[in-house]
Symmetry: C2
Subunit: 743 residues, 2 copies
């Protein structure tokens, strides 16, 4: 079994890795695990058919030949039958007119009859008692309305007859580990067994991904193309892979996530199982979202929200097929990182520079070595070598390959290093091997001495060749290389996943949140005052407000507030208070307050003679501090979300906001605040004290919970501004907008 | 000859391309071309040695075997002699004790004797009349001070004896087109002839780059590794490549640019020759800059300034070896683009989505098709296909490959499309070819019908294989593929270069600027007032200011200014005017102005009894408008630079500034302003009118020229703020800082 990351056996042995992680989860999280949702569908039997009927098989059709060839190519371990109108043998498989005629039990029907004959064929399979069906035929929902109708009939039939259905327009699946397949996915031969489970909505793309994997020497446990997803969806296959003991990484290509809740559920299950999910999802750009919508006909949602969900649920999102493969491979080889720092060792100064540049761009931390590390390196390196990280141990290794053995363990012991990267040219041809052989072997010996996980990275992406495979085996390493740019991004993904996993295992987001409907309080605050009072009940600090019913009461409230006050008429009948003279700001002193009360009362009575006046609200005027904008909204696909930004001009001009799906944890909010371009302001600015991030994060998380508690009819809850000054956080204004304004 | 981009013969024929471009340059720019600098060094003879002496050749050394093997591998066309202490034959080459003993004229000595014997060997070569030498031996400047001393001796000797010297620590060069080489650069065989000239400071990296090129089927004209650059530098080789008729693209790997002016000169020469420069330069991150400095010992300069130089001089900067190869290849295949829009055609909706996402991220414009294009597409596409760009012509092409021929020319004719991209799976193996053959041939026929340049892009990066090479030849295409992410970045680089070239050919930056010393006026403004007056003389609008020598004069000036005024004491002896009561702001009305004059005079006389007071400056107070920060600085490596940002909090918190090397054109300034995150503010904001970008850009360019006119002792000139409101631009404050404050 081969892969692009060269791995030291002892620390990363797959069995160790799995054993440790499972044990740990069972011990620590046995109670909370119960709150994570169960899979919606059990696909264990579906992905293990011991016999398959090829419905539509015919010697005359090139298409049919292609399908049949796949069963031989994959070395299918079960029995195959041909079903066609003539009942004749095809491709060496015995022929029957109907599935019902097959004299043995059939686990799986693989249908590729013309679209118009599909319903009849599915009925025949159902009548034969076949419970698992894949429809390869296209021409259904992807072609428009009439195709969608036909697809609905297939689904209704499958549901009525208890059939588990993949497709239509699906290339099937290959359970590579078990050689149990029902597929026409073209995969390069020979098959490489591996621990990556791959699922894709697109058949063309899954073929291309598996081609890249083969080229790079990366193996698969299972590969599936879900097609139109009439019944089995991406998330169902992901759920299967979480439970599949042969799969360590879940690799996904998606055009649209049909069931956002199922997606979040499977993400939490994957975290509990310590299996990373790596996803390539198109639709980042507006154009691409249009294409996806045209292509699949399903809703897409705001891509920023999908990004947010990935961040919150520990899903590693990548940008290309090449990155999908490199990242999945790294994650399948290297256990969760205990520290986020990377120690890099190379014999090329240029390589060190390129790696450091990519690392800085991707947020991978190459921390300076500790004094102890540098002292230890000085003892083993040539005089003219530097002791920086990345470490250039220079061309001296060509004369003294043992430098790998003396330097790598030193780097691995550094207090900040969670991953050792050996960066080097790797031999692809026998000619290249001659000059590099001793070095590769010494790298292997050096990495074997490390107690921290280590990977070997080639300077550039290169395919797996026989030469490299052989020397890697001899060196006790496995793999070839993705090159610097892809590997650095893969490491960034690994760090992100490891950190999310650590937070999850420390208790964050363990419990599946209640649905909005369950959480709803039934309340419907409308006026600014009602909104602020509701927030206060939800433990969000709001600016104090007193309703004065006389000038004297106003004076007394203003005195207790101290300093300047804001005064606003309280009346459910008045929408625009300022316009009718119902607002006075910055009022100070007993006389001025009393006068303001009288002025407001007189003006409003004159301008709105019919309004019922309930008094005048007196609040302290705030100055200083940092103003934030906090607002919730409803994504048409992903549901309620929350946005945070710095108030005023920042939000207006820079659109400098961070978004997350609700509910959010205080940890999520800290991530959001840290991701703002103007985050520096929160560290204190022009005399304003630094914001207390813990208090602020907790408050914003509560605002999110408050929005959920207002139920599914809430369109948005907006706090603008939320004022923060040191550990004092206060909502100054609040607004609710309701989906159905009449309710 | 092969490459990764499949190219249509008629519009992009290399000969056409070169012929047209040369003709055009000669016709249009014959006068201004003379202002561009000439190469510093003529390397034509250096890169064409008809005979080479291998000094240090020995059968006993594995190292020597490696060197000698390269001459055979490259199929060296000249004579080779072995020189060693014993004067014995080596590797089949006749042996001599001294270069002087060789009975024929020798063009080139390739030295790889031990470091301590190098000076003697160089002397021997010089005595033999050899004029071109490459020193492979390492252990010179790269190892520290004593090595640097030895290197200086080599250089002195070479200069004294008229020797052109590459190295030390240089792997030499291979003139692949002419098979005239003197090298130990390991290049994979068989050699692929091409039009890319590759030069690198690092030998390890150049080997890796050429490995990737070979793997992807990309050919080279020349490859050189300049090593320690005692004499021949990167820019010298680049200069050679500008004039080399066999080279179309200049591809560079650099750790540091030793001569910034030579770099800018060769960049302009390359623009005049219509040859793109593609560069991978390490040192983006702080860590990487440290590594480069440790590695090469040479100054690095601010990476942002290098980025700016690339933007200004049309140099395409890339981030990885993979991108260097893909971008160079695309630029060698596709002539300057006449429009920046890209039309994409694919049979994979997923592929369209991935391409569109990458394009949006890299700023590649995929503009919607025009109505005419969409109408024409409707006539040839299946009903269920969309007419969006990227265009998914669906799997229907498997039944009807002629769809390529009907759709591609339609897309190519679209009014916004400057480049047609065919995105598809490409066959790497005979098995894959079976399913794709008809499609590849039809793509070739379709692209041949297009009048706009077209490239074929594979979904993922894949190496060149025999299968792909053969079918591409049959289809009338050449090449394999770099995959979506690299190709999109390559297209972005091509668009950037094409636009810079168009501006250059329209007359921008045609003349080489005068040096700072030549430009210097000899003036040394120091006080705010002197600086503003100097700027006014340089045609930069500045706020009016009058020196009042009495309260009455102050009143009269204030009246003529109208509205509020600012009043400041004028005295060369007072640095901090506010602290001594020398400033009054927002003064309005005759009495107040007179009083302010008296107050300033009294306070300053009291606080600074010895200061000579020259009067009080009266200026109008400005309000409204947008405040910009404009400042020049001196990069230790690249020389004078200019930074522009929005004033105050934007610069302070966001560090939202743009930087360019001086001099700047108004076009440069517009790029700078457009690149600010807060650029939107310049379009008008909260009642402030939109800035007139032409006037603003011209003013800022003049500020840059003013800084240059102050000569090389100016450390910085700062205008803060430069106020802009509509077409009114005015410097409100100015400050000069001088390198040598005593002058």
């Amino acid at each position: 079994m081969f892969s692009r990351y060269l791995r030291v056996a002892p620390p990363c042995d797959p069995r160790d890795f799995k054993f440790k992680s499972h044990q740990r989860i069972c011990r620590r999280h046995i109670l909370t695990a119960a709150t994570i949702a169960q899979p919606r569908r059990d696909l264990k039997a579906f992905f293990s058919p011991r016999s398959v009927a090829l419905v539509g098989a015919s010697e005359k059709s090139a298409w049919s030949h292609g399908v049949a060839a796949k069963f031989r190519a994959y070395g299918y371990a079960g029995k195959v039958f041909a079903v066609n109108r003539g009942g004749v043998d095809a491709h060496g498989f015995p022929g029957f007119k109907s599935c019902k005629d097959i004299p043995e039990p059939v686990d799986f029907a693989y249908l590729f009859v013309p679209a118009e004959a599909t319903l009849e064929a599915l009925t025949d399979a159902a009548d034969a008692g076949i419970k698992h069906v894949n429809i390869l035929t296209s021409g259904f929902a992807e072609t428009g309305e009439s195709g969608a109708l036909l697809q609905q009939q297939l689904l209704d039939l499958a549901n009525a007859r208890g059939i588990t259905l993949q497709g239509p327009n699906s290339l099937g699946f290959a359970n590579i580990a078990a050689r149990l397949v029902a597929t026409s996915i073209p995969t390069r031969l020979p098959l490489i067994d591996g621990t990556i489970g791959l699922v894709s909505q697109s058949g063309a793309v899954v073929a291309e991904i598996s081609k890249v994997m083969h080229q790079q020497g990366v193996g698969l446990s299972l590969v599936a193309a879900t097609g139109n997803e009439a019944q089995i969806a991406l998330t169902d296959v992901m759920d299967y892979l979480v439970d599949d003991p042969g799969t360590r990484v879940i690799t996904v290509f998606s055009e649209s996530i049909r069931d956002p809740q199922a997606f979040r559920d499977v993400a939490l299950r994957a975290l509990a199982a310590r299996k990373p999910i790596v996803i390539l999802k198109v639709g980042k750009s507006e154009i691409s979202a249009q294409v996806a919508q045209a292509h699949t006909g399903s809703l897409v949602g705001d891509d920023r929200v999908f990004d947010a969900v990935c961040t919150q649920y520990g899903i590693v999102r990548v940008d290309s097929i090449e990155e999908l493969v490199a990242t999945s491979d790294l994650l399948s080889r290297v256990p969760p990182l205990k520290k986020s720092g990377v120690g890099v060792v190379s014999i090329s100064g240029g390589g060190c520079g390129m790696f450091a540049d990519r690392a800085a761009e991707c947020g991978v931390s190459i921390t300076p070595f500790s004094d102890a590390t540098r002292a230890a390196l000085k003892q083993v390196l040539p005089d003219f070598a530097s002791d920086l990280n990345p470490l250039d141990i220079t061309g001296a290794v060509f004369r003294a390959p043992q430098l790998w053995e003396t330097t790598l363990p030193v780097v691995a012991r550094d207090e900040n290093v969670g991953l050792v990267v050996v960066l080097n040219q790797l031999p692809g041809t026998p000619d290249e091997l001659r000059g590099l052989r001793e070095n590769v072997l010494a790298m292997g010996r050096g990495l074997a001495l490390c107690e921290t996980p280590g990977v070997v990275v080639s300077m550039t992406a290169q395919p797996m060749t026989e030469t490299l495979r052989e020397v890697a085996t001899e060196a006790g390493l496995s793999g070839v290389c993705a090159g610097i740019p892809l590997t650095v991004r893969a490491i960034a993904g690994h760090v992100q996943w490891s950190e999310c996993l650590a937070r999850f295992e420390a208790g964050e987001r363990r419990a599946r949140p209640a649905s909005e409907t369950q959480a709803a309080t039934g309340q419907r605050p409308r006026s600014e005052r009602e909104v602020l009072e509701f927030l206060r009940d939800q433990r969000v600090p709001v600016i104090p407000a007193h309703v004065a019913r006389s000038a004297q009461e106003a004076v007394s409230f203003a005195r207790s507030a101290g300093g300047k006050v804001a005064m606003k008429v309280l009346s459910a009948d008045i929408a625009h208070k300022t316009e009718v003279g119902g607002v006075k700001l910055g009022v100070i002193g007993d006389d001025a307050v009393a006068q303001a009360y009288t002025d407001i009362d007189t003006a409003v009575r004159k301008n709105c003679p019919n309004a019922k006046i309930d008094g005048v609200i007196v609040s302290p005027m705030r100055s200083g501090g940092i103003e934030l904008f906090v607002g919730t909204a409803r994504d048409p696909h992903w549901g309620p979300v929350i946005a945070v930004g710095l108030g005023g001009v920042w939000v207006e001009v820079l659109a400098d906001t961070a978004v997350r799906a609700l509910p959010v944890t205080p940890g999520d909010v800290k991530d959001m605040l840290g991701s703002l371009r103007a985050a520096k302001i929160l560290q204190g600015f022009r005399g304003t004290p630094a914001a207390d991030l813990d208090t602020l994060a907790q408050t914003i998380a509560r605002i999110g919970d408050a929005a959920l508690a207002l139920g599914p009819q809430l369109a948005s809850l907006e706090i603008n501004p939320l004022l923060v000054s040191g550990d004092k956080v206060e909502a100054l204004d609040g607004l609710c907008v309701w989906e159905d304004a009449s309710q």
